[in-house]
């Protein structure tokens, strides 16, 4: 008991010291602007409160073993996916869903799709990729450039964006074939930055920091979504009252359709030899090779497909915004998507969808906390990872079962060394 108390005390003090170091520049010293000058003011009480809170929290978590929350009942696991899909399908038609909610829905679904794409690389194949945003950018720019120069529409450009991003995935995959773990993470991180810096500096092609504007909007079999009800518009063709909302509902359904397509393909692939080879690569690459699995092709296919899906999301992003610039493709985006995959439970599709909802939707909800938004949000993430260290959906569902197989405990499932 004494030993436990002492080690808990030590853990608390160490966390307190880290908090002191972190919060001194962040909270303790604050820049205040008055009419004429800028002051650096000292806020000892806020600093002391935060450090005390962290010390106490760490002390308590070290002392009291937090029981793992009970596993959700089996029926919930089975009902969750159909219920979420049904909710997503009717969401735009619900009363009270206006432009703001639709925009948020589109944003969440974009991240769901990115999460599902990265999930193939990180969750299934176990390859840590910190530069996923590069493929998002390649998809967006290839769509913007090709539609601009060839006059192709959104739908014709989708496969091109997919192909361009998948090709970049293979290009990244080749040099990193021999890299594992931290080294792979560093090279992918650099790759993400290289793409962004190229976009920023190749002014003649990409417009540099000015970006590309005037990207065509998606059409429904040639029908435009304009504010009025003129000829050739969606509202005009169906004799509907003109409304700006149609366009946002249309965008919502496009991204929902793309995301569900990605989910369906991934779910199918898990049952195919290629999907099993990805998971075998994550579990034990040497054993996979000894069984005759071409690990090079397997790695490259995971990179290519994950990248291709990121490219689709990028093309959608470009057509939704109508304008893209390198600013939208910073490392922060890669980090958010990776956080979604890890938070959701690596490899789990429903977990990734829930995590995107929590991360992106939750971040919006935390708007009320104004400047403390990031703190509240970060604390929530820490709490989730403490309670469910393997992510929201911590287990792995077997791809095939003779009888009724429950989810496999996350402690057995490898997370990949690279």
């Amino acid at each position: 008991m004494r030993a436990a108390l002492r080690s808990a005390l030590r853990a608390g003090l160490v966390a307190g010291l880290v908090a002191l170091g972190l919060f001194t520049p962040l909270v303790g010293l604050r820049i205040d602007q008055a009419a004429s000058a800028t002051f650096l003011t000292w806020h000892p009480w806020a600093l002391a409160g935060l450090v005390a809170a962290v010390t106490l929290a760490r002390f308590l978590t070290a002392l009291v073993r937090i029981p793992a929350p009970p596993a959700p009942p089996a029926w919930l696991g089975r009902a969750a996916s159909p219920a979420l899909i049904a909710l997503a399908l009717v969401f735009p038609l619900l009363p009270g869903v206006a432009r703001y909610q639709l925009d948020l829905g589109v944003l969440v679904l974009t991240y769901v799709m990115l999460g599902w794409g990265l999930n193939i690389v990180v969750g299934l194949a176990g390859l840590l990729d910190l530069g996923y945003v590069a493929f998002y950018a390649v998809g967006a720019y290839s769509f913007a450039l090709i539609s601009g120069s060839l006059g192709l529409g959104f739908w014709a450009c989708l496969p091109i964006a997919f192909g361009a991003a998948a090709l970049c995935g293979v290009l990244l995959g080749f040099p990193v074939l021999r890299l594992r773990g931290d080294y792979l993470a560093i090279v992918t991180l650099a790759f993400g930055e290289i793409i962004r810096i190229v976009l920023l500096n190749w002014t003649s092609l990409t417009g540099g920091p000015n970006g590309i504007s005037g990207i065509p909007r998606p059409t429904l079999f040639g029908l435009q979504f304009t504010a009025g009800a003129g000829p050739g518009s969606f509202a005009g063709y169906f004799n509907l009252a003109p409304s700006a909302l149609y366009r946002f509902q249309f965008l919502y359904y496009i991204i929902l359709g793309l995301a569900l397509l990605v989910a369906w393909i991934t779910a199918r692939l898990r049952r195919l030899p290629i999907g099993r080879a990805w998971e075998a690569l994550r579990e034990d690459e040497i054993a996979a090779r000894a069984l005759g699995i071409n690990t090079t092709a397997t790695r490259l296919s995971a990179f290519a497909l994950g990248a291709g899906f990121g490219g689709l999301a990028g093309a959608f992003f470009a057509t939704r915004q109508g304008f893209i610039s390198p600013e939208s493709f910073t490392f922060m985006e890669s980090a958010i998507v990776l956080a979604i995959v890890v938070l959701g439970g690596m490899g789990s599709q429903i977990g990734v969808a829930l995590a995107a909802l929590v991360m992106i939707g939750g971040f919006e909800l935390a708007r009320d906390f104004a400047e403390y938004r990031m703190v509240v949000f970060g604390a929530a993430l820490v709490a989730i990872m403490v309670l469910r260290p393997r992510g929201l959906a911590g287990g792995r569902t077997p791809s095939i079962a003779i009888g009724t197989a429950g989810p496999i405990s996350g402690t057995l499932v490898a997370q990949g060394r690279g």
Partner: protein
């Protein structure tokens, strides 16, 4: 005996790690339909030899030739790693078990049928769309997996994660997984390690059944009761060189082998 073609022929194989010569000009043959055992004290170079045979090491010098009953010849020392199992059909297990721990026993066996299932399923698109050709191939692969599981006594554990199986079951599952990859030559690295006498006995019977089905076996093993009972031919390594070879009865009485195991002074050997 001499009429049978050698399935595996190793000639003057040398593997050098810096100043250490782990395998020193070793030659050996393994015949089709036989269990060939490689024994020797710890550090004799057995596992290194295995790693050369299965494409994990590139030997410093020497030749490893595998001849299929069809007459097709493979130079195992030159094949890219995964091709050793995929085309030459030499599949191995590992001294420290390497199962896909987070996948079920059935999934482990289906993963091992990767290449066969890719060919039979008609490629990527039929599988994605779930066409009948793919479904038939998948059902056949599942049936083959269940037959193998039954053979090693793990039929009831098909849906159990491999990592949650008891140690002895994991050993047998690894052998079943290697068999699922459809080998001509099965290389087993200490399959009886850590098994109790009853389990070793069952393992020996299993290996005899595998041989009866026409799969040749190359076996590294320390458990002499298993080796002496089932081997057709034994090769003894010590300090990286071959010191003896022959049928079990001859090896049992070989003075050089006894010296290597008991550490008699070399002058006396």
């Amino acid at each position: 005996m001499g009429a049978e073609p050698p399935l595996l022929e190793v000639r003057d194989l040398t593997m050098q790690f810096g100043g250490l010569r782990a395998v020193d000009r070793v030659s050996l043959t393994a015949r089709a339909g036989q269990i060939t055992a490689i024994i020797g004290p710890n550090g004799a170079g057995k596992t290194t030899l295995f790693n050369c045979l299965t494409g994990f090491y590139r030997p410093t010098s020497g030749e490893i030739t595998l001849t299929h009953p069809t007459g097709a010849r493979f130079r195992l020392d030159r094949l890219p790693g995964h091709q050793v199992a995929a085309s030459a059909r030499v599949v191995r297990t590992f001294q420290n078990i390497r199962l896909f721990a987070g996948m079920t026993a059935l999934e482990n066996l289906l993963t091992a049928q990767h290449n066969a299932l890719m060919r039979a399923g008609g490629g990527f698109l039929p599988g994605l769309l779930g066409l009948p050709s793919w479904r038939r191939a998948e059902q056949a692969a599942i049936a083959a997996s269940l037959t193998l599981l039954e053979e090693v006594g793990l039929f009831d554990r098909a849906d159990t994660p491999a990592g949650a199986l008891p140690y002895g079951d994991q050993r047998r599952l690894e052998i079943a997984r290697a068999l699922a990859a459809d080998p001509i030559l099965l290389c087993l690295d200490e399959p009886a390690a850590g098994l109790n006498p009853r389990e070793s006995d069952a393992l020996a019977s299993l290996l005899e059944r595998i041989r009866a089905q026409g799969v040749s076996i190359l076996l590294i093993e320390h458990d002499m009761s298993v080796v002496m009972r089932i081997s057709d031919h034994i090769i003894v390594l010590d300090h990286g060189t071959r010191i003896a070879e022959g049928p079990p009865a001859a090896i049992r009485d070989n003075r050089a082998v006894i010296a290597a195991y008991l550490g008699e002074p070399e002058a006396a050997a």
